[in-house]
């Protein structure tokens, strides 16, 4: 059962329109389940998740703690594997992938922004942003700095390039993390409670950066949060409750970080 019906869902394609490859969704999950095991004790976290994310979407995955939203993000971001069900990335099954293949996807296709920033300590902004390029299989070393500078410019930190990360404010650190996520030009960016450690003004700045990426660059962004106020910056909200999708809606008034005042 799909909560939304997409006109070009792959399973509904008849053989004669298979040439419409471009509409293969970026992410598609079918009955995705995840359980954690502690000895013989099985703790189910996700009970069958079905949804589709198209390229260029800005989606919030929202839910209270324990709803499974972080687990879902880890699976979608190739940091974890589902117990059963299938996860198709650009129409390709992913469960069978080897460790190195997963690493390659993380290097080239997906990026993360974490709640705790996870920047390297005592390291400059530039070096932090370059980090993912060290592991990128195709971007040559000669292009690294240029690409990193471009990503830093996109989050408005050009003047802070040579600062050490611990010399920056929380909001600036999170923007460095966003630049680091951008630098490989991934297919999708996962932001896990990106405003969770920030005051509201800094949080607003970060949301503004994410919205601009989506609106102007067409980046696909998945925002994971437990706050409705934050979730509403996205164009679509998937609500998770107890490991199931409880709602998936686009009919709300999307907030605009640029003009928003209630967080300020």
């Amino acid at each position: 059962m799909l909560p939304f019906r997409y006109p070009y869902h792959t399973s509904q394609l008849s053989p004669k329109v298979i040439m419409l490859k471009k509409v293969v969704p970026l992410i598609e999950t079918v009955d995705l389940q995840k359980s954690y095991f502690s000895g013989d004790l099985e703790t189910p976290v996700l009970h069958g998740i079905d949804f589709v994310i198209q390229e260029g979407e800005f989606v919030s995955i929202m839910g209270p703690s324990g709803s499974g939203k972080s687990t879902l993000m880890h699976i979608l971001g190739f940091l974890d594997t589902p117990t059963s069900g299938s996860y198709l990335f650009r129409g390709e099954k992913t469960r069978v992938l080897e460790d190195d293949a997963l690493a390659r996807i993380r290097a080239t296709r997906v990026s993360f922004v974490f709640q705790a920033f996870n920047l390297l300590p005592r390291t400059t902004v530039l070096e932090n942003v370059i980090l993912p390029l060290l592991y990128h299989p195709t971007i040559p070393a000669s292009e690294r700095e240029e690409r990193a500078m471009k990503a830093i410019a996109e989050v408005g930190l050009t003047e802070r390039t040579t600062y050490l990360t611990n010399q920056l404010s929380g909001g600036q650190q999170q923007r460095v993390a966003i630049a680091r996520a951008l630098v490989t030009e991934p297919d999708i960016i996962f932001a896990d409670e990106p405003t969770g450690n920030l005051d509201s003004a800094s949080g607003l700045q970060v949301m503004n950066v994410l919205q601009e990426l989506h609106d102007h660059q067409g980046s696909t962004i998945v925002l994971v949060t437990h706050e409705k106020a934050t979730a509403e910056y996205a164009a679509r909200i998937i609500q998770l409750l107890d490991g199931r999708i409880s709602s998936d809606s686009r009919d709300f008034k999307r907030k605009d970080a640029k003009t928003n005042t209630d967080l300020k």
Partner: protein, 408 residues
């Protein structure tokens, strides 16, 4: 990820934790520097004791008082088993000749304010022929010096330099054990023969040495085989056994109170001694590097735990297991390599200081280094890093990125 990037990451990690990296290195530094120091001192000592080992004619032989435990075994020197009567009896043999008894005079030698402690040997003219040594300046001891018991002295090459430096020693008077001697000659350098560096010895006529010391025993005797060395050795051995009342039909060297060697055998024994010295030092090196290696493994495990989130992040942005493994392995190897190089420099410095200090008292102690052992010590240090860094690096590479990111 390129090797250069791995190298940089490792370099940064070491630089960030300078204090801890230095402490970690200490074990390896001590290990490597002690190996370098010990081998350098060993090389200097070998130079001091042996000089160069010179090869004598194959017919040169020696008789020493003392016992040897089996062929090639260790020698326990004795002092009073070879008498002048023994020498006189040996001179009747037809298979050996040119017996040159040597008597040792204890005491320092002085010239003006220069003082050294060379060994002073009383001997006869044909000793110099036995050892194939000639005079560089002046003349050797002659029969006339013997019969007249003249107070004259011939200096070994190094001994002459110690006492006179650049001055001309001929005709000068030196004092040995409160008796004054006139220098009549200086020998060409010959190096070590029969366990002695003759360059550091000084030589006086045997009758003088006998009357000064009152000794009835000889320190050792050199001689030449007339033709076949085995035959000469057998004849000398059986004559001495007979005179000393030793019944030894099974030819067991433990029972004899004297040792007969050819010059080649003597050089082989010296080789054995320096081999066991090398083994001893290698063992020390092995133990200290083992201890240093455990220290490195310990600190690398701490580093892996401490940097769990960093590892998680690196994996999240695309690092493969291999990338993480190499990064931490590089770090361990770099620590040991830096420590090894510091250890080498420290060892050389210490050896140099020691040489400079000792040289004031023994001018023939020369600063020397054993280059192969420096290279081996360095290689061992790097190997230590590889071996003991592997386990922590493997642990790091196998962390699940998700759990590593969540690690508090």
């Amino acid at each position: 990820m390129f090797l250069r990037d791995t190298f940089k990451a490792a370099h940064r990690a070491i630089a960030v934790n300078k204090g801890r990296s230095a402490l970690t290195m200490l074990g390896v530094i001590i290990g490597v520097s002690s190996v370098v120091l010990m081998t350098a001192v060993g090389a200097s000592m070998e130079g001091l004791i042996l000089g160069q080992i010179s090869s004598l004619g194959s017919k040169s032989m020696v008789i020493m008082p003392g016992q040897q435990e089996g062929p090639g075994g260790s020698i326990t020197p004795g002092f009073d088993s070879l008498t002048f009567e023994d020498i006189r009896a040996l001179e009747t043999l037809t298979t050996a000749h040119s017996f040159a008894p040597i008597v040792l005079i204890e005491g320092t030698a002085t010239y003006g304010r220069e003082e050294t402690s060379p060994m002073t040997l009383g001997t006869v003219p044909h000793f110099f022929q036995n050892q194939h040594v000639s005079a560089a300046q002046g003349r050797l001891l002659e029969d006339a010096d013997m019969s007249a018991a003249r107070s004259v002295v011939v200096l070994g090459a190094d001994a002459a330099e110690d006492l006179f430096a650049n001055a001309d020693p001929l005709g000068k008077k030196i004092k040995v054990a409160d008796r004054s001697y006139t220098v009549i000659g200086v020998l060409n350098p010959v190096g070590t023969q029969f366990f002695q560096n003759f360059d550091e010895r000084i030589f006086v006529p045997l009758p003088v040495a006998r009357s000064v010391t009152g000794k009835r025993y000889v320190s050792f005797v050199t001689f030449q085989a007339v033709d076949d060395i085995d035959l000469a050795e057998r004849d000398v051995t059986s004559l001495l056994r007979q005179r000393h009342g030793i019944v030894n039909p099974e030819d067991d060297q433990d029972k004899d109170d004297f040792i007969v060697h050819t010059s080649e055998q003597a050089n082989e024994i010296l080789g054995t001694v320096s081999l066991s010295l090398t083994l001893f030092i290698t063992t020390i090196a092995g133990i200290s590097l083992l201890v240093g290696g455990i220290g490195i493994m310990n600190i690398m495990l701490v580093a892996v735990t401490e940097r769990t989130r960093e590892i998680g992040l690196r994996k999240a942005v695309g690092a493969r297991r291999r990338d993480i493994l190499l990064q931490f392995l590089f770090e361990a190897v770099m620590i040991t390599l830096i420590a090894g190089m510091i250890g080498v420099l420290l060892g050389i410095l210490l050896a140099f200081l020691i040489a400079a200090g000792v040289q004031k008292y023994m001018s023939s102690y020369v600063f020397a280094l054993s280059v192969p052992s420096i290279l081996v010590a360095l290689a061992m240090a790097v190997l230590t890093g590889l071996i003991f860094g592997l386990y922590p690096a493997r642990q790091a590479s196998r962390l699940s990125p998700m759990n590593a990111l969540r690690y508090e």
